[in-house]
C-alpha cells in the first residue's frame, strides 16, 4: 500500500497577469518506510512539490491520495488535521517558537491533537530523549546550538508518530559536521521503520536517501534507486 500516490499534479500560480507553472505534470508513488530525496535546482518546483506533499497547499490539478484519502480537494481545517496526525515537518530554519522551551515546542503538535497535558509532557520527553536532548528540555531555542535546535524540531516531528517525516533542507543552516550528525539521526529514524522525504539541493545530502527524485521545470526528470547509499557512521547521538 502506498502512503503517497499523486497522479498528474499541476500547480499554477497567478503572478500579476502571468501564469507560473510551478508544477506541470507530476506523478509519483511513495511506499511505507521509504527514504526519498527530492532534488532540483531553484525554480524546479521542489518547494511547491514539498508544500503539496506536506498538505500545506493543494494542487491546481490532479489527484493526491494520502494513505487512501483523497486530500487534493480538502479545505484548510481538514488539511490541518492531516498535517497534525500524519506529517512531521523539519525545516531548514528549524521554525521553533522562540519564547518557549524545548519541551513546550515538542508538545505543540499534541496540543492541537487534543492530547491531555500530562500525556503530552510524557510523550514530548520521550521524543526529546530519542534525539539525545533529555538534558536540554527546559532550554529555549536561543540557548541551544543549531544542531540542538534541529534535534528539537525533529523531536517535534516525531512526537505525533506521523506517517511521513518531511524534511526541507534540514542541514541547510548547519555546518558540515553538525549536518552529518543530523543526517545520522535521520538514518536511525528511517531504520526504525519511518518514511522520510528529504528535500535538498545538495548531492551528498541526497545520497543519504535510498531513492532520489530529480525535478526540473515542474517535471520529474529522473527517479532512481540509490545503488551506493551513503551511510553515516553511528555517532551515538541517538539510541
Amino acid at each position: 500500500m502506498n502512503i503517497i500516490n499523486i497522479e498528474h499534479i499541476a500547480k499554477i500560480y497567478q503572478v500579476g497577469s502571468e501564469e507560473v507553472h510551478a508544477l506541470r505534470d507530476v506523478s509519483l508513488k511513495i511506499d511505507k518506510n521509504e527514504y526519498v530525496a527530492i532534488m532540483g535546482p531553484s525554480g524546479s518546483g521542489k518547494s511547491t512539490l514539498m508544500n503539496v506533499l506536506g498538505c500545506l497547499d493543494t494542487p491546481t490539478k490532479g489527484l493526491y491520495d494520502f494513505s487512501g484519502t483523497n486530500v487534493s480537494q480538502m479545505n484548510d481545517n481538514e488539511l490541518a488535521a492531516i498535517r497534525n496526525r500524519e506529517i512531521g515537518f523539519v525545516f531548514q530554519t528549524f521554525n521553533l517558537l522562540a519564547r518557549s522551551d524545548a519541551l513546550h515546542n515538542v508538545e505543540l503538535p499534541l496540543i492541537y491533537a487534543g492530547v491531555s497535558s500530562s500525556e503530552r509532557k510524557d510523550r514530548a520527553r520521550l521524543a526529546l530523549e530519542q534525539v539525545g536532548l533529555s538534558d536540554r528540555m527546559h532550554h529555549k531555542p536561543n540557548e541551544l546550538s543549531g544542531g540542538q535546535r534541529q534535534r528539537v524540531a525533529i523531536a517535534r516531528a516525531l512526537v505525533t508518530q506521523p506517517s511521513i517525516i518531511l524534511a526541507d533542507e534540514p542541514t541547510g543552516n548547519l555546518d558540515t559536521k553538525t549536518g552529518e550528525d543530523i543526517m545520522a539521526l535521520f538514518n536511525d529514524i528511517f531504520e526504525l521503520g519511518n518514511t522520510i522525504i528529504l528535500v535538498t539541493h545538495e548531492e551528498y545530502i541526497a545520497e543519504h536517501a535510498a531513492r532520489i527524485i530529480r525535478l526540473r521545470d515542474g517535471l520529474i526528470e529522473n527517479d532512481e534507486i540509490v545503488t551506493k547509499r551513503y551511510l553515516p557512521k553511528k555517532n551515538g547521538a541517538s539510541k
Binding site: 484548510d76 490541518a80 515537518f89 487534543g114 505525533t160
Partner: protein
C-alpha cells in the same frame, strides 16, 4: 463540549505565555482600556450617586404629601399662560379649606420670598423665606437641633420669630449659639426660636430646608410681599400613602366649592404630588445616563481601537509563529481562539486596573457626592472589558486564522 473546553483552556494558556513574554507592551496597550473602564465605572457610580441623592431629596418631600397650588409643578399638558390667568390662592381660601377638609392629618399654608438674612456683619444672600403657620412642621419630617418651631400664638399673632435651616444657622453663627439671637431681614428684627437639624440633600439646592428660614406667614405679607400678589400653596399631609388619593379627591371637591366652580368649568388650581417630581427627575437622570454612557463609551471605544491596533501588529509580528502552528496542525479555530483570548485577557487586565483606579477615585469623589463602587460595577467592568477584548480582537484574530501556512512560514 469537552473538546471546546480543552481548546479554550489551551488557547488561554497559549495567550498567557504570549502576554507574559510581552509584559511592557501589554501594560502600555491596556492603558486605553484602563482609562475606558475607569471612566465607565466612575460614570455609572456617579450617575447612581446622583440618582440616589435625587431620590432621597424627593423622598424628603414626603410621599404622603400633596401641594394645592395655582401652578402645576411638572407639567406638559396645561399651557403656562392658562395657569398664570388663574386666580391666586389666598390665605382666606386656605382657612376655608382647613375647616372643611376632614381627611388630612395636617395642613399648612406656605408662601415664600427671597430675602437676605443678616446677623451683625454676617449675612446669607437671597435665601428662601417660607411664610407658614405652626402646623407646617406636622406636614414635614423636619427635626430640630435646638429650639422648636413657632407655635400657634406666635403664628396667629404674627410675632417676629424665625426658624433657621441648618446651613443658614451655620453661616450666620459659625460657632453656634443661634438660639434667642436676633437676625435682621430687610431691616426688621426676628428672634430665632429654633434651628433645624441637617436634613437634606444637596440636589434640592435652595429648596433644601437646610438653606431656608421659616416664619409666620403674616410677617411675609406684612414685611416682604403684598398679599394679593402672591398665591399661597397649601401643604397637605395624608395619614399614609394609601390615603393620598382620597385626600386628593376631597381636596378637589372642597376647592371647587370654595372657588365656586360650575360643573362645566375646569379646575383653576392644581394638586401636586411628589410622583410628578420623580417623573421629571427620572427623565433628567435618563438623559444624564445616556449622555454619560455615550461619552465614556467613546473613551472605551478609543481604547478598543488601541487594542485592535496592537493585536494587528502582534499578528503581523508573529506571522511566522502562526505559520509554524498551522503547519503542525493548528486549525483556524485554534488560531482564532488564541488571539481572541489574548486580547480578552489583555483587556481584562486593563479592566481590573481601571476598576482599582475607579475605586480609588470614587473615594475622592465620595467627599462631594456620596457614592461607592459596588458589586454591580465590578461585574460590569469584568463583562465590558472581556467583551471589548473579544470584539476588538476579532478582526486581527480572523486575519491570523486565515493566513496561508506556506506564506506565513516564508515570512521574514
Amino acid at each position: 463540549m469537552n473538546n471546546y473546553l480543552f481548546e479554550l483552556k489551551e488557547g488561554l494558556l497559549i495567550s498567557l505565555r504570549a502576554i507574559r513574554a510581552n509584559k511592557a507592551r501589554t501594560i502600555l496597550t491596556t492603558l486605553g482600556i484602563v482609562i475606558g473602564i475607569a471612566s465607565v465605572v466612575l460614570m455609572s457610580t456617579a450617575i447612581r450617586g446622583i440618582d440616589n441623592a435625587f431620590q432621597t431629596g424627593v423622598a424628603s418631600l414626603g410621599s404622603d404629601n400633596l401641594y394645592i397650588d395655582k401652578w402645576q409643578w411638572f407639567n406638559n399638558d396645561i399651557p403656562w399662560w392658562e395657569m398664570r390667568n388663574r386666580r391666586n390662592l389666598s390665605l382666606a381660601e386656605y382657612k376655608k379649606y382647613k375647616d372643611l377638609a376632614k381627611l388630612p392629618v395636617a395642613t399648612a399654608p406656605t408662601v415664600w420670598s427671597n430675602q437676605t438674612v443678616k446677623y451683625r456683619e454676617r449675612s446669607v444672600e437671597f435665601i428662601i423665606l417660607q411664610g407658614t403657620n405652626e402646623d407646617y412642621i406636622k406636614t414635614t419630617n423636619l427635626s430640630f437641633s435646638e429650639g422648636r418651631f413657632f407655635n400657634e400664638i406666635e403664628s396667629n399673632g404674627g410675632r417676629e420669630v424665625v426658624v433657621l435651616g441648618s446651613e443658614v444657622a451655620k453661616k450666620l453663627f459659625p460657632r453656634g449659639g443661634a438660639l434667642d439671637q436676633f437676625v435682621k431681614i430687610k431691616g426688621h428684627k426676628f428672634k430665632i426660636v429654633g434651628v433645624l437639624s441637617e436634613q437634606g440633600s444637596w440636589v434640592m439646592g435652595n429648596f433644601n430646608p437646610d438653606n431656608q428660614a421659616f416664619l409666620p406667614i403674616q410677617n411675609v405679607f406684612k414685611y416682604f410681599q403684598s398679599e394679593n400678589l402672591r398665591s399661597v400653596t397649601f401643604n397637605v399631609r395624608a395619614e399614609n400613602s394609601s390615603m393620598v388619593e382620597a385626600v386628593k379627591e376631597e381636596a378637589v371637591g372642597i376647592m371647587r366649592r370654595i372657588r365656586g366652580l360650575k360643573y362645566n368649568e375646569i379646575n383653576d388650581f392644581s394638586i401636586n404630588q411628589q410622583e410628578a417630581l420623580l417623573k421629571t427627575i427620572n427623565q433628567t437622570i435618563g438623559v444624564i445616563q445616556i449622555a454619560g454612557l455615550f461619552i465614556t463609551g467613546l473613551s472605551l471605544f478609543v481604547g478598543a481601537i488601541g487594542i485592535m491596533n496592537i493585536m494587528f501588529v502582534s499578528v503581523k509580528e508573529r506571522t511566522r509563529e502562526i505559520g509554524i502552528r498551522k503547519a503542525i496542525g493548528a486549525k483556524r479555530r485554534a488560531i482564532l481562539g488564541q488571539f481572541i483570548s489574548e486580547s480578552a485577557i489583555i483587556c481584562l487586565i486593563g479592566g481590573m486596573i481601571g476598576l482599582v483606579i475607579a475605586i480609588i477615585l470614587s473615594l475622592v469623589i465620595n467627599q462631594f457626592l456620596p457614592t461607592s463602587v459596588d458589586a454591580n460595577a465590578f461585574i460590569l467592568a469584568i463583562v465590558i472589558s472581556i467583551l471589548t477584548g473579544i470584539l476588538s480582537g476579532f478582526a486581527p484574530a480572523y486575519t491570523a486564522a486565515k493566513l496561508d501556512p506556506v506564506e506565513a512560514l516564508r515570512y521574514e
